[in-house]
């Protein structure tokens, strides 16, 4: 199911809207809520959000296409984000990404997010995650990992069922 307006989602959005004197301000938080439940933001989700916030759909579409964290298509069940910025690069971030790509049979030199053919893992580089003192760092879905050696990465991945 790429999108369904559940009661739960309705309630969450109704609550979010109360945080702002202007409905439009809730849009990013609403998209976060949708992505949390469905993994990505489909066209139906854009139209539903626009209607809910009384906006033309373009106002939702234009933020969906701007923010790197928002997904316009389904991604892997486990999304691994490796920080690539300077402090992490000095600490072995490029080697870490290469290790993960090789492990999953992905192209270690390709740009952008890549997903395994079984849809289980997505690997991508992201910019500084604000934990440069514990480089290299990565996220697996919402969980954050510091000082990720290759062995530690294997262990994290091993726990993804």
């Amino acid at each position: 199911m790429s999108f369904q307006a559940t009661k739960e989602l309705e309630a969450e959005v109704d609550e979010l809207v109360t945080h702002y004197p202007v409905k439009r301000a809730a849009s990013l938080m609403v998209l976060h809520a949708i992505q949390e439940k469905f993994g990505w933001i489909s066209r139906e989700a854009v139209l539903w959000t626009a209607k809910k916030l009384e906006l033309p759909p373009i106002n939702i579409q234009e933020i969906l296409t701007f923010y790197p964290m928002l997904r316009q298509e389904p991604m892997g069940k486990y999304q691994i984000k490796v920080c690539r910025t300077l402090s992490c690069a000095l600490g072995g971030a490029y080697e870490l990404r290469e290790h993960l790509c090789k492990k999953f049979g992905l192209d270690a030199h390709a740009h952008g997010a890549q997903t395994t053919s079984d849809g289980k893992f997505t690997v991508e580089f992201v910019e500084c995650l604000a934990s440069c003192g514990t480089a290299p760092v990565m996220m697996c879905n919402d969980d954050f990992y510091e000082g990720v050696s290759h062995a530690k990465a294997d262990e994290i991945v091993g726990k993804c069922k």
Binding site: P21, A25, T85, S87, G133, D142
Partner: protein, 477 residues
């Protein structure tokens, strides 16, 4: 001898210290908010009265507090610009976007001591007649947003937020707003647009100074997490006492994020200016020096946008001699006191107080290529010089680090960089993306030229011996 001085991070790393409100209250939490709410109007000699709010604002001025987000602008002065006569509501936003590469200090506060931030914000809101405030936290800090939401809930339940706070007749509501992975949301007007639910395109100043035309075109205060926490301590100890911490014009403490090639990377809170860059890198109390057998090559002193220092670089700094006369003293880069003014005098900045250390194993061209890729990715795209310039700098550095460089690329990079800042762009990102390029190339020019020249020489040979070309192409792939 330089020491750590824990004001903001006094409890955060104490064993057993937890982010919940009970723990915070056990450590004296919210006493300063109560103190602020109980301040009585003060009679002035001319018969006028100074309201409690005005007294706090005055004290913040006296404290000398400067913004911890990057620009180091006086907090008291920023607050004095707020349009209080417009009749519109005044908003306060805590900038918790923490996305300047190298920086990881706000994270420590929000994850470990969220109520300190909420108390600092509540006092700042009270002092500025704000009744609705937001914490704009970067999207990747998923747990941080949860911790803050939980803390807000606790604070509401205990009436430190909500209606008639602590019976003092003051109402305040606060919400967490999450970003979604874009660096430009840290720029205050981009942040405001983002909060309004739009693309985070920074606004042009003038006329859109947040203090006058901010969130929903209302007067708005945007302050960094650490700045707002400091306000709590100013109320606790008084502005004059706060001003005694640190050094003149560089008051209070700073939480320094130290990363890269040091033995003990981490965050260290110091009295501003009471430790040098060298001490922060080498002292066993701080970074503990470089890895064994390595020598220092370069230091980025204030987040990725700050101009780089080269090991051994010397600066002439103004100092007062014994008779109070101003003299110029030659100072090694490592002996620069870590504060706003010394680093500015040395041509860089303390920015978000993030030091990135690079030892002699670092390929300096690769390092700059890494940063330029960041800026090319993060330019919001509104201004042509920034959007195109950031991209072309990154492309040029990409070819220099992939065997396709030219000796002239060093000059080419500087030419692009020089054409971005200086009023040609809407926001300071233009400066932020050109400073690393200008400074890296100026200070390590021979390495850039050598790399490009080597590529050119190799290519010239390949033309003579076409067989090699294939091999090289394969090697580059």
């Amino acid at each position: 001898m330089a020491q750590e001085y824990k004001l903001i991070l006094k409890y955060a790393d104490e064993p057993g210290y937890t982010p919940d409100i009970e723990c915070y209250l056990r450590h004296g939490g919210y006493a300063d908010l109560k103190k602020a709410l109980a301040i009585a109007p003060k009679d002035l000699a001319d018969g006028k009265k100074l309201s409690p709010q005005e007294q706090i604002r005055e004290d913040v001025k006296i404290s000398g507090l400067r913004g911890r987000g990057g620009a180091g602008f006086s907090c008291g002065l920023k607050w004095s610009f707020v349009d209080r006569k417009s009749g519109k509501p005044i908003y306060l936003i805590c900038n918790a976007d923490e996305s300047e590469p190298g920086t990881f200090k706000d994270r420590q506060i929000m994850y470990k001591d969220p109520h300190q931030l909420i108390e600092g914000m509540a006092i700042s809101c009270f002092a500025n007649d704000v009744h609705l405030a937001y914490i704009y936290i970067r999207g990747e800090m998923v747990d941080g947003a949860k911790i803050l939401n939980e803390a807000l809930k606790e604070a509401r339940a205990k009436n430190f937020l909500g209606k008639n706070i602590c019976g003092g007749g003051y109402d305040l509501e606060m919400h967490v707003h999450r970003g979604a992975g874009a660096y430009i949301c840290g720029e205050e007007t981009g942040l405001i647009e983002s909060l309004e639910g739009k693309r985070p395109y920074p606004r042009i100043k003038p006329p859109y100074f947040p203090a006058i035309l901010g969130l929903w075109m209302c007067p708005t205060i945007v302050n960094n997490v650490e700045t707002l926490c400091n306000v709590k301590h100013i109320v606790a100890m008084g502005g004059a006492a706060f001003a005694k911490l640190g050094t003149p014009n560089n008051t209070g403490t700073r939480i320094v994020s130290l990363s890269g090639h040091v033995k003990k990377p981490g965050y260290y809170e110091i009295e501003t200016g009471k430790a040098t860059i060298g001490e922060l890198i080498n002292d066993p109390k701080f970074g503990g020096g470089l890895r064994d057998g390595r020598k220092l090559k370069a230091v980025i002193p204030g987040g990725s946008s700050a101009k780089v220092f080269k090991a051994g670089e010397k600066f002439k700094l103004k100092k007062k001699d014994a008779e109070g006369k101003e003299i110029l003293v030659e100072t090694d880069m490592l002996d620069l006191p870590y504060d706003f003014d010394s680093l500015a005098a040395a041509g860089s900045m303390s920015g978000s107080s993030a030091i990135i250390v690079m030892d002699d194993s670092t390929d300096i061209v690769e390092a700059l290529a890494n940063l330029s890729e960041f800026y090319a990715h993060e330019s919001c795209g509104q201004c042509t010089p920034c959007r195109e310039g950031a991209l072309w700098m990154s492309k040029t550095l990409h070819r220099l680090t992939h065997g396709e460089g030219r000796a002239a690329d060093a000059d080419y990079l500087v030419k692009i960089a020089d054409n971005i800042p200086g009023g040609r762009t809407i926001c300071a990102f233009g400066e932020a993306c050109s400073w690393p390029v200008q400074s890296f190339v100026a200070k390590f020019k021979d390495e850039f030229v050598a790399k490009g020249a080597a590529d050119e020489a190799r290519h010239a040979k390949q033309v003579a011996a076409p067989v090699e070309t294939k091999e090289l192409a394969a090697a580059h792939h």
